[in-house]
C-alpha cells in the first residue's frame, strides 16, 4: 500500500482553481518529483498535504497518509502526524528559521516537546542530526544563530529539523532554488543520501525538471493546476508524451550568440576596478573594510556580451553596479567611449547615463509599484528628452513595449498586473527606450521559470543583434551564459579566477573553481540543446 495516496485533490480560491483533482501515490523509500512552473499548483499540493493552506482555500478530495485521511482531520490529530511523521523543507531557509534562537535550540525544542527528551538528550540528538546532514564542526554550530550560517548550511539545518522526529515522508518544496549552483548540488546529494540511508519517502517539488533526473524514481508534471503527465523518470526524459513535459525538458536556453563583428569599437572599459565597503566597527573601533571586488580589468565592444559568473558574494553584482556608476564605493577607472566616468560628478554623468543602463534580477522589486508600466518605461525620457510632451513620451513607451514584445495596450496597468517574465520585459524596455550602448544585466533571468527564461534570452539576443548593444551579463546559471555570452569572466571572492571564450571555458575549465561550477550546472550536451 502506498504511504501517501492522493485522490482527486482540488484546491480552489475565490479567484479560481489552484489545483484540479490531483491523483498521486508515493511508496515508502521512493522519490516522487512534482514538477511545474510557478502557478502550476505544485506548492498548493504540498501545503494541502501538510494542512497548511490558508483559510480562504476550499479543499476537496482525499489525502491518505499510511491509512489515515488527512483532509478534515482535527488539528490535534493532524499535529501528531505532521512534523512527527511528515517533515517539510521550505524554499527560503532564512525566513523559515527563527532569527532569535540558536539553531541547536530550534532543533531540540520540538524533540523535548514531542518526544519527551530531556534537555541534554535533545541536545545530543540535535548534534547527531547536524552531523547527519553534513554540517562541519557541528558541536560549535549548535550555538550559532541562523544569520551566522551560509545559505547552504541553513538549508541543512532545515533538513535536520525536518528529520528530527524520524519522519516517514519528507516534503521538499524547492529546497535548492535559493542556493548557489555548487551548494545546490551538495544539498541534492545530501537528500538522495538521506533517503537511501533512512528509507524515507521523498516528495520533491521543483520548477526545474533537469534537477530531478538523478533524484527521482517517478515524475509528475503539473501545469495550471492539472496533472498532465506522470511516469518513471527514465521514460519521461526519454519519451515525454505531453507537450508540457516536452516544453519543460527543452526549456534550457537554446542557440548561441552570433560572434562579434570584427573591428567593433570598444564602448566601455574598466581598469583596476575595485569596490570595498567600510567595515562595521563600533563607535571608536573601525573594522577592516570588506573588499567586494578587486582589480578587475575589462573591455566591452559593441555587440559583445561578457558573461560574469560566480557564486553569491563573488562580487558579480558589485562589478555591474560599479560599471554603471551606481556604486559610490568603487575605485579604479571606468571609461565610456572616450570619457573617463570616474572623474565626472553626478551632474556631469547625467547626460551620459542614457548610454549605459542596468536591468536587475528581481522583476518584482525593480519596478516602482505605484506607477503605471508606461510611466516606468518612459521615465528616462523625462530626463534625457525633456522636450517631449507627455503624449510623445507615451508614444515612445508604446513603441518600446512593442520592441520587447509586450502588448502596448497594457502599458496603463501597474506592475502588479504583470507576470514575472512580463515585468522583466518592462525593465528591459525601460533600459532600451534610451537607445543605450551598454546594458548591464544583473541576473535578469534567475527569478523566472525556465520556459520564460528561454524567451527572455531570445529577446535579449534579438535586441542585441538589432541595436548592436554591448551586454555585461551577470549570472550564476551557466546554461543561460552559454546561450548569450561571447566571453566569460569567472569571479571568486571579488577576484578574477578565469576568463576566456565561453565555449572553451565551459568545455575545458582550467581552474578547480570553474570546474566545480560547470559540474554543478549539469549542462545539457552541446548537440542536444
Amino acid at each position: 500500500m502506498a504511504l501517501l495516496s492522493v485522490r482527486g485533490l482540488s484546491v480552489a480560491y475565490a479567484g479560481g482553481t489552484a489545483l484540479d483533482s490531483l491523483d498521486l501515490a508515493l511508496h515508502r523509500g521512493e522519490t516522487l518529483a512534482l514538477v511545474g512552473e510557478s502557478g502550476s499548483g505544485k506548492s498548493q499540493a504540498a501545503l494541502a498535504v501538510m494542512g497548511l493552506l490558508p483559510e480562504a482555500a476550499r479543499v476537496s478530495g482525499s489525502v491518505r497518509f499510511d491509512g489515515t485521511e488527512l483532509i478534515g482531520l482535527p488539528r490535534p490529530a493532524l499535529d501528531r502526524i505532521r512534523g512527527a511523521r511528515i517533515g517539510m523543507v521550505f524554499q527560503e531557509p532564512m525566513s523559515a528559521l527563527d532569527p532569535l534562537f540558536p539553531v541547536g535550540r530550534q532543533i531540540a525544542l520540538p524533540l523535548q516537546a514531542h518526544r519527551g527528551l530531556t534537555r541534554a538528550q535533545a541536545r545530543a540528538r540535535a548534534l547527531d542530526l547536524l552531523t547527519l546532514v553534513g554540517i562541519r564542526d557541528a558541536e560549535r554550530r549548535l550555538s550559532a544563530y541562523p544569520h551566522e550560517l551560509s545559505g547552504g548550511e541553513r538549508q541543512r539545518v532545515m533538513i535536520a529539523m525536518a528529520l528530527a522526529c524520524e519522519p516517514d515522508l519528507l516534503i521538499a518544496d524547492e529546497p535548492t532554488t535559493a542556493l548557489d549552483v555548487t551548494v545546490q548540488a551538495q544539498i541534492l546529494a545530501l537528500l538522495a543520501d538521506l533517503k537511501a540511508r533512512l528509507g524515507l519517502a521523498l516528495l520533491f517539488i521543483t520548477h526545474d525538471l533537469r534537477l530531478v533526473r538523478r533524484m527521482a524514481e517517478r515524475v509528475a508534471v503539473l501545469r495550471a493546476g492539472r496533472l498532465v503527465e506522470t511516469g518513471p523518470t527514465e521514460r519521461i526524459f526519454a519519451r515525454p508524451q505531453s507537450p508540457e513535459a516536452r516544453d519543460l525538458l527543452a526549456a534550457e536556453p537554446r542557440g548561441r550568440k552570433a560572434p562579434v563583428p570584427a573591428g567593433a569599437p570598444v564602448v566601455m572599459a574598466a581598469r583596476g576596478l575595485s569596490v570595498s565597503y567600510p567595515g562595521r566597527g563600533g563607535l571608536f573601533t573601525r573594522a577592516a573594510p570588506r573588499r567586494a571586488l578587486q582589480g578587475i580589468d575589462l573591455a566591452l565592444r559593441a555587440g559583445q556580451t561578457l558573461g560574469v559568473v560566480g557564486e553569491s558574494g563573488s562580487g558579480k553584482s558589485s562589478l555591474g553596479r560599479a560599471l554603471v556608476r551606481l556604486e559610490p564605493a568603487a575605485t579604479g577607472l571606468v571609461r565610456f567611449e572616450d570619457r573617463d566616468l570616474t572623474r565626472l560628478d553626478r551632474a556631469g554623468l547625467r547626460p551620459l547615463r542614457r548610454f549605459f543602463q542596468p536591468v536587475f534580477q528581481d522583476p518584482y522589486g525593480s519596478l516602482s509599484p505605484r506607477l503605471s508600466a508606461g510611466e516606468i518605461v518612459a521615465e528616462g525620457l523625462r530626463v534625457h528628452a525633456p522636450g517631449l510632451s507627455a503624449r510623445e513620451r507615451d508614444a515612445r513607451a508604446a513603441e518600446a513595449f512593442a520592441q520587447v514584445r509586450l502588448d502596448p495596450e497594457t502599458r496603463h496597468r501597474q506592475p502588479h498586473a504583470f507576470s514575472g517574465g512580463q515585468r522583466q520585459r518592462i525593465a528591459i524596455a525601460r533600459a532600451i527606450i534610451l537607445r543605450p550602448k551598454v546594458v548591464v544585466l544583473d541576473e535578469p533571468t534567475s527569478a523566472l521559470d525556465r520556459t520564460v527564461q528561454r524567451d527572455i534570452v531570445a529577446l535579449l539576443r534579438d535586441l542585441q543583434a538589432r541595436h548592436g548593444l554591448a551586454y555585461l551579463f551577470i549570472s550564476h546559471d551557466l546554461a543561460v551564459v552559454r546561450a548569450l555570452a561571447d566571453t566569460v569572466l569567472v569571479l571568486r571572492d571579488g577576484r578574477e579566477v578565469e576568463r576566456g571564450e565561453t565555449a572553451a571555458v565551459l568545455a575545458r575549465p582550467r581552474e578547480a573553481y570553474t570546474r566545480a561550477l560547470v559540474a554543478a550546472a549539469d549542462l545539457a550536451p552541446e548537440g542536444q540543446s
Binding site: 543602463q357 528616462g380 507615451d394 496603463h412 502588479h416 534610451l434
Partner: protein
C-alpha cells in the same frame, strides 16, 4: 482595473470615489464643514450671547419660554423694575399687563423687557393720568435650544458649530503643515542617508527634546497670544513624528532596485523623491495623518485649558468637551453633544484615511 493614462493622483481619486464607504465618509465630513461655516447664521442664536434665563437647559425641540414660566418671569421682572405686575394676559405670542407703583413710573424701566431673554421690546399701550399705572404690551421671544444650553445659557448648537471652525481649521491645517514638512524632510533624510540623514535626524531629536509647553510659552512671550500661534506651535511639533515615520520608509525604499534604476537613468533627487520615494511611503503616512487630526484637536483644548489657546468667548470642540466634562453630573448633554460631533468627524476621517490607503495600494481594484 486602473483607467488608461491617469497619473497616480488621478487613479487614486478615481478609486476613492468609486468606494461607497469613502464617498459616504467624505459626504459626512463635507456636511459637518458646511454646517460649521454656514450654520451659526441659521440657528438664530449668537454664539456668545448669554441667556441668563435659560442656564443649563436640556436639549429639546420645545419652544421656550414655556407658558407656565411666563407669569413668574414677569413677576421677577417687575420686582427688578420696582413695580407690580397686574392683569397679566398672554395671547398670540404677546403679553399684556399693567405695571403699577406707588410713585409715577419712569418709562425707561421698560428696557428691562428687551434685556430679558423672554420678551422683546415693550410698548406703552396706555398711561394713567397720575403716571402710577402703565398698560404695556411686549412680544414673547420664542426660541428653541435644540442641543440645550451651557451653564451661562448660551446655545450649545451654535457654540459647537462656531467651535468647529477653529477645531477643523486647526485639525486639518496643522495636520497639513505637519504632513508637508514631515514628509519632505523625512523623505529627503531617509533617501540621502548617511551623514546627511544623521545630521537631519539630530535636529529632529533636539526639537523633540524641547518640552512642548515651554516651547508654546516661549512663543507666547515672543509673539503674544493668538490663535495663529496655536497653529504654529502644533504644526512645529507634530511634523517630527511624521518625519521619523517617512524617513524609516525612505531608508528601506532607497535600497530598492526601482530607485537604483531611476538613479541609473539620471533622474534628479527631487524627482526620485516625488515619483518613487514619497508615493511608496504614503501608506503609513495616511494612517498616521488620520490619527494626527484628533490628536491636534485635543491638543488645542489642552493649550486652551492652560490659557494659551482659544479664549472665551471664542470656543472650540476641545474647549467645549473640557467644559462638558466638568459639568457631566448636572448637564451631561454639554459633554455628549460636542463629543458626538467630534466622534462623527473622526470616524468619517478615519474611514476616509483607511479607504485612501487602500486606494493607494498598487493592487487595489
Amino acid at each position: 482595473m486602473s483607467a488608461a493614462g491617469l497619473s497616480l493622483a488621478g487613479r487614486t481619486r478615481r478609486r476613492l470615489l468609486a468606494d461607497p464607504l469613502a464617498r459616504a465618509s467624505l459626504a459626512v465630513l463635507g456636511l459637518i464643514a458646511l454646517a460649521c461655516l454656514a450654520g451659526p447664521a441659521l440657528t438664530g442664536h449668537a454664539a456668545e450671547r448669554i441667556a441668563y434665563d435659560y442656564p443649563r437647559t436640556p436639549p429639546s425641540l420645545a419652544v421656550y419660554p414655556r407658558p407656565e414660566t411666563i407669569v413668574p418671569a414677569l413677576e421677577r421682572l417687575a420686582l427688578r423694575m420696582r413695580v407690580r405686575a397686574e392683569d397679566v394676559a398672554v395671547a398670540d405670542g404677546t403679553v399684556r399687563l399693567t405695571l403699577a407703583s406707588d410713585r409715577p413710573i419712569d418709562e425707561r424701566v421698560l428696557t428691562f423687557f428687551s434685556r430679558s431673554d423672554l420678551f422683546g421690546p415693550a410698548a406703552v399701550a396706555a398711561r394713567s393720568a397720575d403716571g402710577r399705572r402703565l398698560a404695556v404690551t411686549a412680544p414673547v421671544r420664542e426660541t428653541r435650544f435644540l442641543l440645550g444650553t451651557d451653564a451661562l445659557g448660551r446655545d450649545l448648537l451654535t457654540r459647537i458649530l462656531v467651535g468647529g471652525r477653529v477645531s477643523l481649521a486647526l485639525g486639518l491645517l496643522a495636520t497639513a503643515v505637519a504632513l508637508l514638512i514631515g514628509v519632505a524632510y523625512g523623505a529627503l533624510a531617509g533617501y540621502l542617508g548617511g551623514a546627511a540623514d544623521a545630521a537631519m535626524m539630530r535636529l529632529v531629536d533636539i526639537l523633540y527634546a524641547l518640552p512642548f509647553i515651554v516651547f508654546v510659552i516661549l512663543l507666547v512671550v515672543v509673539f503674544g497670544r493668538s490663535v495663529v500661534l496655536v497653529f504654529v506651535a502644533v504644526g512645529a511639533v507634530e511634523w517630527l513624528d511624521m518625519a521619523r515615520i517617512v524617513r524609516g520608509e525612505a531608508l528601506s525604499i532607497r535600497r530598492r532596485d526601482y530607485v537604483r534604476a531611476a538613479e541609473a537613468l539620471g533622474v534628479s533627487t527631487g524627482a526620485i523623491l516625488r515619483r518613487h520615494v514619497v508615493p511608496n511611503a504614503l501608506g503609513p503616512v495616511v494612517a498616521y495623518a488620520a490619527l494626527l487630526v484628533p490628536k491636534v484637536i485635543l491638543l488645542e483644548s489642552f493649550l486652551s485649558f492652560l490659557g494659551l489657546g482659544v479664549q472665551e468667548p471664542m470656543t472650540s470642540w476641545g474647549v467645549l468637551i473640557a467644559e462638558g466634562a466638568r459639568s457631566i453630573e448636572t448637564s451631561p448633554w454639554m459633554l455628549v453633544a460636542p463629543a458626538a460631533v467630534l466622534v462623527a468627524t473622526l470616524a468619517a476621517l478615519n474611514l476616509v484615511g483607511d479607504r485612501l490607503r487602500a486606494a493607494l495600494e498598487p493592487g487595489a481594484a
